[in-house]
């Protein structure tokens, strides 16, 4: 079986506080659910360059916590943690996340899975508590514009340019 879906994630910005990503996987729903919720799997696919995860604990129950720590090549530890708010295997998980690099930022992440004909569609919605939170994700140091504005704006500007060669 080969993957033909590389690069097919659809990214949307439905509001100032949300990011919505959808992606389909050629795999049964239970496997997709396990791959995102079991530490032995997360350790295999989370680090981008095959780094070791210094910590990967997942207490998969409502009120349970998870904690991931990854150490980059230059020795910087990146720590992510949160608490599970809803768990409905294998279709839905709601959790909070906090990235230690961005103090005071908390987001709620809702991942929903739906299987049809052996293909599992993931809908992954990230909702920041406040604008400052999403700004961490989508803005640059000191910038005021929200990313959806910038994105629309870029398309407007770049498209006429592309037509003129």
């Amino acid at each position: 079986m080969t993957t033909t879906r590389r690069g097919t994630a659809v990214i949307e910005f439905p509001s100032d506080l949300e990011i919505l990503i959808t992606r389909e996987f050629e795999a049964p729903i239970q496997l997709v659910f396990d791959v995102f919720t079991k530490p032995e799997h997360v350790r295999k696919h989370f680090p981008p360059f095959g780094e070791e995860m210094a910590e990967c604990s997942i207490d998969l129950r409502v009120g349970g916590d998870y904690h991931y720590v990854m150490v980059t090549d230059d020795g910087t530890a990146m720590s992510f943690r949160g608490t599970f708010m809803e768990i409905e295997p294998p279709t839905r998980i709601v959790d909070t996340w906090i990235f230690d690099g961005w103090p005071g930022t908390e987001a709620v992440e809702t991942v929903e899975l739906h299987e049809s004909d052996g293909v599992t569609k993931m809908t992954w919605r990230l909702t920041f508590r406040d604008q400052a939170g999403r700004d961490h994700m989508t803005k640059f140091d000191g910038i005021e514009a929200s990313f959806d504005n910038v994105e629309d704006y870029l398309r407007t500007l770049l498209e006429p340019e592309a037509r003129h060669g």
């Binding site: 590389r6 961490h136 770049l158």
Partner: protein
């Protein structure tokens, strides 16, 4: 499953400030949009956007400083035009964000395929 925080951390490593800050202000984006149609004197931008002459001049100065607009004198007026090449850093960032999201999910996809292949050969 803090997938997103991680992606953002990756994407943010490539930030460039000047052009980003210049278009952070909504009125400056409006000015750039007004210039898509072509070169214009300050007066035309003022009437297009219903802004004051001094506001438009102030924003044009910021845009000129980062190279997003260029100007030239023609007779007694000064004409402004868009310099889209300076938008490249923004376009690059958008591409990087998309690449980070896709990179993350493609790894999951590869891993899922790997697991299923192992399952099939057992």
């Amino acid at each position: 499953m803090p997938i997103s925080a991680y992606i953002a951390a990756v994407a943010r490593s490539a930030t460039t400030s000047d052009s980003f800050n210049a278009i952070a202000e909504q009125k400056r984006r409006a000015i750039l949009t007004a210039l898509i149609a072509g070169e214009k004197p300050v007066g035309a931008i003022v009437s297009d956007l219903a802004l004051s002459q001094s506001q438009v001049s102030k924003h044009l100065r910021v845009l000129s400083e980062v190279g997003l607009v260029r100007s030239r004198a023609e007779g007694r007026s000064r004409l402004y035009r868009l310099e889209p090449a300076q938008l490249q850093p923004l376009s690059d960032w958008l591409a990087m964000f998309e690449k980070a999201v896709n990179g993350r999910l493609d790894r999951v996809d590869d891993y899922l395929q790997e697991l299923q292949e192992q399952g099939e050969t057992k």
